[in-house]
Symmetry: C2
Subunit: 155 residues, 2 copies
DNA sequence: GGGAGATACTTTAGGCTTGAGCTATTCAGG
DNA sequence: CCTGAATAGCTCAAGCCTAAAGTATCTCCC
């Protein structure tokens, strides 16, 4: 096999890897979305946003949320608007910067999130049951490298 | 460590695995979407649909596309409508079933797709450059198992 | 052949997401 | 101080996506 042929094979390898990664990700994502909808009448983006706030009890600015969730600012505006309307989240003025908000979980939001998070974890555990501990550990490590490489090359 | 504690740790393991998988997938996806947009003025769903048609020269029915792309039928209707309007795809009557269409690439569609596919593969290869052959092979295998397990458990 | 149920597709309403363009505020240098 | 550049956030149009409901056709079975 000459170099050029090998290069082509390796190229297809990268492509197939990406397609398989996407498939796996979508399979899990669809499952979780569907259950969030049917059990809690909510969506994955809202859940993700609450999840970030739960990890940051002091609150987060809109652009911090935007970075953590890997979505654009305009998107965060819309989701926060909804969650405020539902009473799960509140916008507090940022003392240090009059342009900025500090978004926090309300008491009701924290309570609602705790319930959803428990169920969410159950779903994922159930979905991955039968996936060996050994494979899971290996996958975590390889994905760590993949993330690193991708971040490097995307810059 | 008692059983209950271990169970909790394993649960978090599954959750963290899923979150990392999602992150990796999103990193690559965003990169590809952004380039499809800036270079070709198109989107990932349209590209994916063309890609499926390219693999099936005899054409595909709407519901076959829906299954292959893992999206709902209504969604496929919208995307095909657009691609027809752009002249990349055509709807042909299915001789055997008057309810159904057979969607095919037009000559222009095949040409446009070939160009995009070449670029798409380059982007992915570039993005994954530095990811070792060994890791890539291992990842392919583990993801195959993950896909299998997930499909099993989702049913 | 005829009716019940399945299937192929479309439509609709509602939510997510983006990129571009806007205002208001902050910050850094002169 | 001031002024230009950067930053925080919002709005808007357009496209993706879903679930649910609607129409047309097919298929099976009596």
């Amino acid at each position: 096999m000459d170099l050029e042929t090998r290069a082509t094979v390796d190229d297809h390898r990268a492509l197939r890897l990406w397609l398989r990664l996407l498939t796996c990700s979508q399979l899990i994502e669809r499952h979780v979305r569907s259950r969030l909808r049917s059990r809690f009448g909510t969506t994955l983006p809202r859940f993700d946003l609450l999840s970030q706030l739960e990890r940051h009890p002091l609150g987060l600015k809109m652009n911090q949320l935007s970075r953590l969730l890997m979505v654009t600012g305009g998107n965060v505006t819309g989701i926060v608007d909804q969650l405020v309307k539902e009473g799960l989240v509140e916008r507090v003025d940022d003392a240090a910067d009059r342009r900025a908000w500090r978004v926090k979980l309300t008491r009701a939001g924290a309570k609602a999130f705790a319930e959803m998070a428990r169920a969410h974890e159950e779903w994922v555990v159930e979905l991955l049951s039968g996936f060996s501990r050994k494979d899971a550990d290996a996958l975590m490590q390889i994905l760590a490298r993949l993330k690193e490489v991708t971040l490097e090359n995307a810059a």
